[in-house]
Each structure stands twice: as structure tokens, then as C-alpha cells.
């Protein structure tokens, strides 16, 4: 069972909201001191899913593929430390400031260059811009079946059994391979890399490709190829003022709250 997991390096989404700042003029996030770049958590779960599928299948090669600046190499290394075998990094100034479309285009070319594996895995969305588009687009570009927002995956002799999280429950899906799967947070925690693997991963080479290596016109990717244009980025103002309910005892506070809700015709 061979797989390629596409991962993204992002600013740690668990940073406290109070540390989050944007520069509205340049429409960029101001990285707070001490907050690191990390592999997007859903993507780490996708690596975990790939490792579990391989364990179930018995053998296979797992590649980790990322598009991003130099720092994105760490996301690839994280995947390698978790147990993946090969790392690929699409890194070139021409790739910068792309959108979901250009990312999907570049990734799909890279996947073709590596060789289409049995399974392509993605996180359900990148935990920074929260689009959740790239997996589906890659599936379309490569004409593969796709199953999205999964809480579990299972290797079934060349097919994949998966459980999709939908608004009113779960759907069981069986898909032929090759296919695209996107993994949701319900999947469970990704493994903690073993130190030996971290050290081995540190020594492993990561293949770096530019648009030319993928046979892409530099103007087809990155900012030049992007089809979504950002006009504005801001932190929404929140003007709610909380009214704390007073009372001598918890019970009194509860009764006061009930009255307030009634008076405001909320209940």
C-alpha cells in the first residue's frame, strides 16, 4: 500500500487568541514571538492514517509532500519522523502566495511525477486559512474518487473502507484505489515521533522541486496563477459586554439568570 500525504506548514493554530494579530496593510499574520510553525494538525492526522493503512496492508512506501517556503521542510520532516519514508518539497519563489487552485495544480503534477500511489491523503482543511479545497481539487485533476472528512480508514485488500463524518451521523464508504482521502479531527491523535526516527528523519534527504521540475510555467502557479484574490484581512471586532450575574449563592445566581433570560424574552 503506497501513499502520499500532502501536508502544510502553518502557524500553530493553538496559539492563544490574544496573541493573534494581523497586519491589515500587508494582509499578513504577524507571528507572535514564541509561536512556532507546525504541521497542520489535520495533516498530521492524515500521516497517521497513512501509517495505519500501511501497517494493515503489511508493506508500502509513504511519501510526504509539501508546498511552501523553506520552513515547510520541517513539516515534511515531521511526517518522516512519524514514520513516512520519502519527503518531497515544492519550494520556489514562484510558488509563493498561491491559492488552493495553484496548490492543487502543483501538488497533482508532483504526485504524477512521483508516481500515483494507492492512496492520496490530505487533512480535511489547512488549519490556517480553513478552506478545505485542495484535496478535492487534486482528486478532480487526477480523476480519482475522493472521500472527505473521515473519522476512520481501513485497508480492505486493495480497497479502502472509510467512515465519513456528516451533519447527521456517519456514512460508511468503500472506495476503489487509487483514491483521495481527507482526514478529520475525529480520526484521533497522531503518534508522537520516536526520538530515533526524529534523528533519522533529520538526516534524510528531502527532494526539492521547482515549477520547472514539474513542467509548470512559473506564471501558472503562486501569486501569478492564483484565482482568488484577497482584498482585506482583519480581526473582527467584538463589542459584546458580558453582564455577570450576581448572587450570594450558586442557586441564587441560577435563579437570577433564569429571570434575566425570561425578561429578555430569550426563553
Amino acid at each position: 500500500m503506497d501513499a502520499i500525504v500532502c501536508v502544510k506548514q502553518i502557524l500553530d493554530p493553538e496559539m492563544p487568541a490574544s496573541a493573534f494579530k494581523v497586519d491589515e496593510a500587508s494582509m499578513t499574520i504577524v507571528p507572535p514571538p514564541g509561536v512556532q510553525q507546525v504541521i497542520s494538525p489535520f495533516d498530521a492526522q492524515a500521516v497517521e492514517a497513512a501509517l495505519q493503512l500501511r501497517d494493515a496492508a503489511g508493506a508500502g512506501t509513504i511519501g510526504v509532500l509539501s508546498l511552501g517556503p523553506d520552513s515547510a521542510r520541517d513539516a515534511v520532516k515531521h511526517g518522516l519522523a512519524m514514520g513516512a519514508d520519502e519527503g518531497y518539497h515544492l519550494n520556489d519563489p514562484a510558488f509563493e502566495d498561491g491559492d488552493s487552485w495553484t496548490t492543487a495544480l502543483a501538488l497533482s503534477k508532483a504526485i504524477e511525477k512521483i508516481g500515483l500511489p494507492d492512496v492520496l491523503l490530505f487533512g480535511r482543511q489547512a488549519a490556517d486559512w480553513d478552506y478545505g479545497v485542495v484535496g478535492g481539487m487534486v482528486a478532480e485533476l487526477l480523476d480519482l474518487p475522493s472521500v472527505t472528512v473521515l473519522r476512520s480508514v481501513e485497508w480492505r485488500d486493495g480497497k479502502i473502507g472509510a467512515s465519513r463524518v456528516v451533519s447527521d451521523g456517519f456514512e460508511s464508504v468503500i472506495t476503489a484505489t487509487p483514491c483521495v482521502l481527507t482526514i478529520s479531527n475525529e480520526f484521533g491523535d497522531p503518534r508522537y515521533p520516536q526520538l530515533r526516527q526524529i534523528m533519522q528523519a533529520a538526516k534524510k534527504d528531502v527532494t526539492v522541486w521547482t515549477p520547472a521540475d514539474l513542467g509548470l510555467d512559473p506564471h501558472a502557479v503562486g501569486a501569478a496563477g492564483a484565482r482568488v484574490k484577497m482584498e482585506q484581512l482583519f480581526v473582527p471586532k467584538n463589542e459584546t459586554q458580558v453582564e455577570f450575574i450576581d448572587g450570594d449563592s450558586p442557586a441564587e445566581k441560577a435563579q437570577a439568570l433564569a429571570r434575566k433570560l425570561r425578561e429578555a424574552k430569550i426563553v
Binding site: S18, P32, G34, Y192, P193, Q194
Partner: protein, 678 residues
């Protein structure tokens, strides 16, 4: 004829030790001859003078009886044997009055020995005072010794009955034990007396030699092992964990099998006398949680006897170490459970109590290291804390704060490189709601006292302590090296911190990595400021306060009095102690990374400790550690709800109480503990 047995005896004692030493030699070489004076002092005080044993009056008395009796009677017997060889009365020692004195000493120490045996029997079978582990050795050693002493008196008594009682009745007083026996056997015929004497003498001698033979096979070996282990004892603070040097090149991380331990760690397993003192002092065991330090050691010892012995044989034959060990129980998971390893608070109570100087903490942490770094297997909450540490540089996942949130409304000097002290706030002091009030109190006091200090603010990272206690030595070293570079570049020479865990790591663990600073705990600095008249506490409302010792301040760093002296200098504060205080203080439950773990077991440690605080009847609990505060904050309400819901005892840091003085009628109300992130 008897002396023909002596070489056999020597062989019986020495052979098992040699066999056993092969197992010790599986370990990493760890020869400790640095600081020989201190080590010899340890041997004398801890080994020969049995300082630790005497800490407990009952077993101290018991041990003193047994030890003195055995030593004296051994010497007495040896003297007799030598005397026997001396040619004539001219040079013989044991004649006349000298013999009488000799006899009295022998008799007294025989009786002392029997008292010791009685105390030991009572300790084991009548009313155990500790979490005792009884093994066949206990029967053999005590039974053998009892038999030895009793037959000694019988032999003496029969001899007296057959001769002395008639010849020198006045000597009775010089052999009180023998005389009583002589009286009992007085009615027997002389022939019977002599026959019995002969038979019992042989029995006595064979028992004596057999008993000595136990030395190589039972815990009686502590006679040798304890002083030796006292010599090998870590001379540094018990809060310092051993460094893994050149971790990048290490062949294994921590210990997943016996040969990963050091020789010292393997040797000391054999010193254990399973007295249970460690387990009786262990906070996890007290709370009914799945950890008994004694059983960690004993189970490892048993593992060494089976698996270790096979490994030693393999090594001697040049075979693969694990040859023939397929299916043998693994060390972690087999001999020692993972739950036990994680339940350890690294509080040092076991290490401090152990009369034979076993150091449990490095052994437990070595196995944690293996779980975390080799196998990446750990409780989910531990993984969460470590991941947050890696990504965010602090262990407080989900905190809503930045490292400057606590400064709101307070002028806090940023570190410029010119100030005297760097106030290292610590992750907890900055990021946990409850602890921010401690930080603010410390800043207020330092400013009031005119201390020259600054803080790193957003640029302050974790110093790595949680990673190290949780077994991720690699992460610790990375964090520590980064911080040392930052501190050195910033020109930091003196560090003050209110967190005993930060304090311990800076003080005891950083120098080995090249970070040498003058480190001072806020309680010590505040006391100095009071002494120097830079701070003057004003009168407060009458209140009694009980002080809880943080393990990393007290036991690991020997600071017990500074925070107490601060409290007693606040007018109208009366200090009351919990029964377990200072060296005997009980951990709050948070140490060893348990701050970030879910507890399993009958009770929570913090509730046990909170109950002890409530039971003092004090108005407030006080501590000098931001972890302890949080543990009290969650333990006190539960305990008070059980007993007396009207009680409103809360916990404060010593700095908060000092900064809050003077108090009006309403005492300072700390913000409630942080809720878990949704």
C-alpha cells in the same frame, strides 16, 4: 574440624557475590570516585552509623539492637577463638576478671539481640509499621539469628550448670542469661548436661556458620551493600537527573532493559532490604495509586535474577545478550508497569527515606525516557504537554494568555542587561490564571524593596524542566541549550524565580550544560529583603497559616525555613505545621510532570494533602510553588465539602501573603483556578 568449614563459608559468601556481580557488570560503567571525602563521610554516617535507619525510632532501635548484638557477639566469638590458640595463661586474654567482663558483655548483647529479634518479629507479623514486603529471607535471617542467640545462651547455661555454678557461684551476675538457663537445667544430671552441651554447641556453631552463609544469598548482604551504596550515592541534589551525554549519538535512550542501566543502578537493587520505608512515604502509594517504589526496586531485582542472570551468561559466552530470552517478561510492562512509572512524582520521599541509599528517581525516569523517546508511548495527557512544549515553548495547552498578559496594569521592567536579577517568571507564572497573582505579587514586592530586576516577557521560553521529568531528555537539552544561549547573550548573571521547578533546573541541572548562574528562590530573596529592612510587613488580621513544603524547594534543595521565617515575620500570623512537614513533607501530587496527567487510583494526592492542611485548623494554606497552589486549589474545595462546607481555607503563595499584608477584614481572594480549555 570446625575450622575446615571456614573456607567453605568464605566460598558460600563470596561465590554468590561474584555471580551477582556479573549482573551488575551488564550495566554501563559508572565509577564514582569524585569527591572522596564526602563519599567516605557518607559511608561512615550512613553506612556504619546507620543515620537513616535511626530516623524511625522503632526500627532504629530494632536495627541498633540487632546490629550491635551481631557485631559484638561476632567480635566476642572471634576473641574466644583467638584466645583458644594462645599458648598459656600468661598471654591469654580471657582470664580472671577480664573473662568475667567479657562474659557480661556477651550476655548483655545476646539479650539485646533477642530484644531486637522480638522487635523485628513484631514489626513484621504483629503490627507492621510500613508497607512491608515479607520474603523467605525474613524467616531465615530472623529465625536463624533467634536460634543462634537462644542456643548461645543454652550452651553457656549448660556449661555453667555443669561446672561454674558449683565452682564459682558468685560469678552468676557476670553471666545473667547463662545463669538463668543453668538454673533451669540444674536438675539434669551432669552427664546429660554435658551431652546436651556438646550437641547444642555443634548446633550453635553450624547455625552460626550457616547464618553467615545467608550473607551472599539474602538481604543480609546489606551489611556490605549499604555502606558501599552510601559511598556511591549521588553527591549532588536529589533533584538533579543524570544527563544523557551526546544524546544525538546515543545507542538507546533511557532504559528498556537491564543493561541500559548503570552498574550502580543495578548494584543498588541488591541492597534493598524491602523495609517498605520508601513506599510508606510515597505520595502515590498513600493515595492508593499504582506505584510502590519498593516494588519497583524489588521487581527489578527479581528481573535481574532471572532475565539479568541469563543476559550475564550470554555476555560471558559472547552470545547475543537476549539469546534464549524470547518470551521472557519485558522489563517495562513485565517487571514494572507503565502506570507505576507515570505515577511517580519524583518528589524524592523514597530516596530520602531509603536506609540503604537507593536512588529510585533516576531509575524510574530512565524507564520513562525509554517509553517516551524510544517507543513514543505515554499517556495522552503527557503527549499533549510535550507537544505543546515543542510547539509553543510551554506546557500549558490551551492557555488563553500570552507571556505578558499578567503585566496588565502593572509597570514591569523589561530586562535590559543592566539589572542585577533576571526575574524568570516561568510558564506557569505567566500563563496560568491562578499563578499570575503570584507573579504580580513578586513584582510588587521586588519593586517595593527597590530590587534591580527585569523580565524577558514574550522572549522567555520554558527552561525544559517538564520535558526532563516526563522523560523527553532530548527536548530538555534542546530547550536548555537555547535558553542558555539567550541568557548568556542577554548578560544574565543572577536569576530569581518563584517556581521551585525552574529553580531546581537552573540551579542543579543547567551547570552541566554550561549555564552557570546564581539562582535564588523568591522565598530566600524575600527573606533577605526583610532582614535588610527593605520590606516591612504591616499588621494583618489575626490568622493561622500552615505551610506546605514544595518537594523541589524543600527535599531536593533543602530550603525549608526561609518561607516559614517570612510567614512568622508577618505580624499576627501564627504558623502551624501539618504532621508531615519539612523533610517528611508530602508532595502536592503535581511533581514529576503529574501536573499534566490524569491520576488513577483510590484518591487524588492533592486531596490527601489538602485534608492534612484542613485538619490543622489553620485559616490559610501557604506554599512557595505555583504547582502546589493549583493542586491545593482543586483539592481544598473537595475536601472541605466532605467535612465542613463552611470552611473556606484557600491556598496562597508566600509572596501573595507578604504582598497582601496589611490585610483589611476581607482577605485577598485569589482568582479561581483556570478552567480547562473547551
Amino acid at each position: 574440624m570446625l575450622y575446615a568449614l571456614l573456607p567453605l563459608l568464605v566460598a558460600v559468601i563470596v561465590y554468590p557475590l561474584i555471580r551477582r556481580s556479573r549482573i551488575w557488570r551488564l550495566g554501563r560503567p559508572d565509577f564514582r570516585f569524585d569527591n572522596p571525602r564526602a563519599r567516605l563521610r557518607n559511608v561512615v554516617r550512613g553506612g556504619f552509623a546507620t543515620e537513616r535507619v535511626l530516623n524511625d525510632p522503632y526500627s532504629g532501635l530494632m536495627h541498633a539492637c540487632l546490629m550491635s548484638s551481631i557485631v559484638v557477639l561476632f567480635l566476642v566469638t572471634a576473641l574466644l577463638a583467638i584466645d583458644d590458640y594462645l599458648p598459656d595463661d600468661e598471654v591469654r586474654i580471657l582470664v580472671g576478671d577480664r573473662y568475667l567482663g567479657y562474659s557480661l558483655v556477651g550476655d548483655i548483647f545476646g539479650i539485646v539481640g533477642l530484644i531486637g529479634v522480638g522487635l523485628a518479629v513484631a514489626h513484621r507479623w504483629v503490627r507492621p509499621r510500613t508497607r512491608w514486603e515479607l520474603r523467605w529471607e525474613d524467616w531465615a535471617i530472623l529465625g536463624g539469628l533467634g536460634a543462634l542467640l537462644i542456643t548461645g545462651f543454652l550452651v553457656e547455661g549448660l556449661r555453667i550448670a555443669s561446672s561454674e555454678i558449683h565452682e564459682n557461684p558468685g560469678w552468676a551476675i557476670w553471666s545473667p542469661g547463662g545463669w538463668v538457663v543453668a538454673k533451669i537445667f540444674g536438675g539434669f544430671s551432669t552427664t546429660t548436661q554435658l551431652d546436651l552441651h556438646q550437641a547444642l554447641w555443634w548446633f550453635h556453631m553450624v547455625t552460626a556458620l550457616s547464618w553467615l552463609g545467608l550473607l551472599g544469598y539474602t538481604k543480609l548482604n546489606h551489611v556490605v551493600a549499604a555502606p558501599l551504596n552510601a559511598f556511591l550515592r549521588n553527591p549532588a541534589s536529589s533533584g538533579k537527573l543524570p544527563l544523557i551525554p551526546n544524546i544525538e549519538e546515543a545507542e538507546h535512550f533511557g532504559a528498556s532493559q537491564l543493561n541500559h542501566f548503570s552498574m550502580k543502578q543495578l548494584f543498588e537493587l541488591d541492597a534493598c532490604v524491602h523495609c517498605g520505608r520508601c513506599t510508606s512515604a510515597c505520595p502515590a502509594d498513600i493515595a492508593g495509586q499504582p506505584l510502590s517504589p519498593m516494588h519497583i526496586i524489588l521487581n527489578l531485582k527479581d528481573h535481574a535474577s532471572t532475565v539479568g542472570a541469563r543476559m550475564a551468561t550470554n555476555q560471558a559466552r559472547g552470545a547475543a545478550l537476549d539469546a534464549g530470552l524470547d518470551g521472557a517478561p519485558s522489563m517495562i510492562g513485565g517487571a514494572v508497569t507503565e502506570e507505576a512509572l507515570w505515577a511517580c512524582r519524583t518528589c524524592g520521599a523514597c530516596v530520602q527515606e531509603c536506609p540503604v541509599f537507593i536512588e529510585h528517581i533516576p531509575t524510574i525516569v530512565d524507564m520513562r525516557r525509554s517509553l517516551v523517546m524510544e517507543e513514543a508511548r505515554m499517556p495522552e495527557s503527557v503527549q499533549g504537554a510535550l507537544e505543546t512544549l515543542e510547539r509553543q515553548g510551554h506546557p500549558w495547552r490551551g492557555t488563553a494568555h500570552t507571556r505578558e498578559s499578567w503585566m496588565e496594569g502593572l509597570e514591569v521592567p523589561p530586562w535590559t542587561g543592566e539589572q542585577e536579577y533576571l526575574y524568570f517568571v516561568g510558564c506557569t507564572g505567566a500563563l496560568v490564571d491562578r499563578a499570575q497573582s503570584i507573579t504580580r505579587s513578586v513584582v510588587t514586592l521586588l519593586k517595593d524593596a527597590g530590587v534591580s530586576f527585569g523580565v524577558l516577557g514574550l522572549n522567555e521560553p520554558c527552561n525544559g524542566d517538564p520535558a526532563r521529568r516526563l522523560g523527553n531528555e532530548y527536548l530538555f537539552q534542546i530547550l536548555a541549550q537555547q535558553l542558555i544561549a539567550t541568557l548568556d547573550e542577554a548578560g544574565v548573571k543572577k536569576i530569581v524565580t518563584h517556581c521551585p521547578h525552574c529553580f531546581n533546573t537552573f540551579k542543579n541541572e543547567y551547570p552541566e550544560l554550561g549555564g552557570t548562574y546564581e539562582v535564588i528562590h523568591h522565598s530566600v530573596l524575600l527573606e533577605r529583603l526583610l532582614d535588610a529592612g527593605k520590606l516591612t510587613p504591616k499588621a494583618t488580621a489575626q490568622q493561622t497559616v500552615t505551610f506546605h513544603d514544595s518537594c523541589y524547594l524543600g527535599r531536593h534543595n533543602n530550603i525549608y525555613e526561609a518561607p516559614r521565617r517570612i510567614l512568622t515575620r508577618i505580624p499576627n500570623v501564627t504558623l502551624v505545621e501539618m504532621p508531615r512537614n519539612r523533610e517528611q513533607g508530602l508532595c502536592c501530587g503535581a511533581g514529576g510532570g503529574n501536573m499534566w496527567m490524569e491520576e488513577q487510583g483510590r484518591e487524588r494526592v492533592n486531596e490527601v494533602r489538602a485534608r492534612e492542611a484542613v485538619d490543622t485548623g489553620a485559616d490559610k494554606a501557604c506554599t512557595a510553588c505555583p504547582f502546589c497552589i493549583q493542586m491545593f486549589d482543586s483539592g481544598l474545595p473537595t475536601v472541605q465539602m466532605e467535612t465542613d462546607a463552611a470552611r473556606q481555607m484557600q491556598a496562597f503563595d508566600v509572596a501573595e501573603l507578604l504582598a497582601a499584608a496589611p490585610l483589611s477584614s476581607d482577605s485577598p481572594s485569589p482568582p479561581p483556578p483556570p478552567s480547562e480549555p473547551g
